[in-house]
């Protein structure tokens, strides 16, 4: 048997051992569909270009994980329950700006922003309300937070354990990707190096105590939303992933002890074949670097698992219902690219947070792709198409050029190269340049945006109903926070914060145990963040543009 015959036999064995969804794998004309077309490399095999599983969506559809959060914890809890009732299969939490920046709702910085762009979380009490009545042992939960990720993770563990769910049973993801904050999203608190220590502490803590948890979701989504190209998104994100691997190894972890739990988050933008090529190239690059450069031997360490979200920045405020078509095509690119989990944007998100009705259409869009189009019936249905394979190769080649630049800037360390690119503004500059180039092309009419620079007839203002956040949210949240502060024992809080400061000053100590103890005293998010900042300092971007 030659090598391809062996690989084929291995794929057939893996495919045969996988469960099958209970649906007919045939077309509407009754044509039975073989699961895979073409020769190797095979899905579920190195370098995983065609998918990380042998059977992909023939066994299980991707997780339809809708991002939600607004107002108070109780408001968001109600939206979570509605999404689960509507057939959502995972939860994803959006926090408000003050929470993302480690500020309490009663901070002067929080004025006008409490509960506006996500849910407000000040103390453990809010996290308890957020997941009230939801079995955290049964539903996987994603939390999109970065600067104060370790503190919010501590609250999540404490809330789950108070509800009787042991930490080892918790499954889900915390974004916890601080490097892209300095490059794109700008929701940083501490300087890069102590921030990366917090990431490594969370990686080590979950590797030891939470085997079902993904401690980092290395995120290109925000890099793309900030204006990067698809190639930059891919390259910067994977470079950040390599940086976290190097940081965790430097902290004393063995690569195969944590790499299987790293996950990724990419943007699904409008250029359909470039996007498909990007998703496929991402898996291939990661597999090769993890094996060859970082010496990972566990195949699970080679597999890049990814969540995708359709491109919020592509949505137009003009003719907002057109966004349903954009989202459908972007979601299709993610499914054809073989993602494990997907969020589809609601058509009204160029105007405000989604209404419940618009969020439901977005979920229904995924369900239509999954159940009506047939694209989930065949593994990597575009694999082998000359254009798709060429695009995959081309995206990969261009990403490798960017890795060379970063590696050189770090003198052979991707972690140091990423730090260098943050410190000298290289990432920010590259992204700004790309977004400006795109905007000029749009202004010149070279790139058509339907309803914006072409086909503007029928631009009706106020076409979409939008979600308004009731101003009472801020008052309610402030009252809630005041009540929690009233009831707690301040001396206990102060002692716990003292331990956080002491552990922060000792880089050899994992901070998570002290953080969990601190949040259990109902220390607020800002109090804990301030304790960390007293040791770590705060980061400010130099205002260059």
């Amino acid at each position: 048997m030659d090598a391809d015959d062996q690989a084929r036999a291995a794929w057939e064995a893996a495919y045969g051992a996988a469960p099958q969804r209970d649906v007919p794998f045939s077309t509407m004309s009754g044509v039975d569909l073989p699961p895979l077309h073409g020769d190797g490399p095979y899905p579920g095999q190195f370098p995983y270009t065609r998918g990380i599983h042998a059977s992909m969506y023939r066994s299980r559809l991707w997780t339809m994980r809708m991002f939600a959060g607004f107002g108070t914890a109780a408001d968001t809890n109600a939206r979570f329950r509605e999404l689960l009732r509507s057939g959502g299969t995972g939860l994803s939490t959006a926090f408000d700006m003050p929470t993302l920046m480690g500020r309490d709702s009663d901070s002067p910085w929080a004025l006008g922003e409490v509960g506006r762009a996500g849910v407000a979380v000040d103390t453990l009490a809010d996290v308890e309300d957020l997941f009230a009545g939801i079995d955290l042992g049964a539903v996987s939960t994603s939390m999109t937070i970065n600067g104060p990720a370790a503190v919010v993770m501590a609250m999540f563990v404490a809330a789950a354990e108070a509800a009787g769910v042991e930490r080892a049973r918790l499954s889900g993801t915390i974004q916890n990707d601080i490097l892209k904050e300095y490059q794109a999203q700008k929701e940083y608190i501490f300087p890069p190096r102590p921030s990366v220590r917090l990431v490594s502490d969370l990686v080590a803590f979950t590797a030891a105590e939470m085997p079902r948890w993904h401690p980092v979701s290395v995120s290109g989504y925000h890099i793309r939303e900030a204006g990067s190209t698809a190639v930059q998104e891919l390259a910067f994100t994977l470079a950040n992933g390599f940086a976290y691997v190097e940081a965790a190894v430097a902290a004393g972890l063995a690569v195969d002890d944590f790499a299987p739990r790293l996950s990724f988050f990419f943007n699904a933008h409008s250029d359909l074949f470039e996007e498909v090529g990007k998703f496929r190239a991402a898996r291939r690059i990661w597999a090769r670097w993890m094996r060859d450069r970082y010496g990972a031997t566990d195949p699970r360490s080679h597999m890049l698992r990814m969540h995708a979200q359709t491109a919020g920045v592509s949505l137009t405020a003009q003719q907002p219902r057109n966004n349903i078509a954009r989202v459908s095509l972007q979601a299709l690119s993610a499914v054809l690219g073989g993602v494990q989990s997907l969020h589809t944007d609601a058509y009204d998100e160029a105007l405000a947070l989604p209404t419940e009705a618009a969020a439901r259409i977005a979920l229904r869009t995924q369900q239509i792709i999954a159940h009506e189009t047939g694209v989930a019936n065949v593994v990597d249905p575009l694999g082998g198409a000359p254009f798709v394979e060429w695009m995959t190769d081309e995206v990969e080649r261009r990403a490798e050029e960017i890795f060379d630049h970063i590696d050189e800037a770090g003198a052979g360390s991707m972690l140091e190269g990423v730090y260098a690119g943050i410190e000298d503004g290289w990432f920010v500059g590259e992204i700004a340049e790309a977004s400006y180039r795109f905007q000029r092309e749009v202004d010149a009419g070279e790139r058509i945006i339907v309803g914006v620079n072409a086909f503007r007839e029928g631009n009706e203002e106020g076409e979409a109903e939008i979600l308004r956040i009731d101003p009472r949210v801020e008052e309610e949240q402030l009252a809630r926070l005041a009540a929690v502060k009233q009831e707690r024992d301040d001396a206990v809080v102060a002692a716990a914060l003292g331990r956080v400061r002491a552990d922060a000053a000792d880089p050899s100590t994992n901070l998570l145990p002290a953080l969990i103890d601190a949040v259990r005293t109902y220390a607020t998010l800002e109090e804990v963040v301030d304790a960390l900042a007293s040791v770590f300092g705060r980061y400010e971007e130099s205002a260059v543009a």
């Binding site: 910085w109 947070l353 202004d443 620079n453």
Partner: protein, 143 residues
Amino acid sequence: MSVVERPRVVLAKVGLDGHDRGLRVVTRMLRDAGIEVIYLGLRQTVETVVAAALDEDADAVGLSLHNASHMTIAPRMVEALRGAGLDIPVIVGGIIPEVDVEPLRDAGVAAILGPGTSAGDVAAAVRGAVSGRADRGGRSTGS
């Protein structure tokens, strides 16, 4: 009509929101259009923006707001500038729902630039707001 030949505009994001793509693009659009931009960047307060406008003898202030805080922050900016004796226009860009446009105008915001506004329209809006002020006796050259 009086014309400020090379207007000076202070651009900033007030509050915690980190989405600065729009502000950076607008900065370059305006500079290409011959308008001088004092770029303050992220995490400014109303007070730091007023101080910069005073220090720089600015002709206008531009705020980028994407986090639904515009109804709180934009009117405060207008009041704070007036309180400091600066009669210069405030221009707001970002995700501003249609229903909020009229109330923002009533609060004294000079121009509201929504998503999809072209470079030419941004520059024209800034020049228009500044020349409106020049007509009322602001810093200007020519006649």
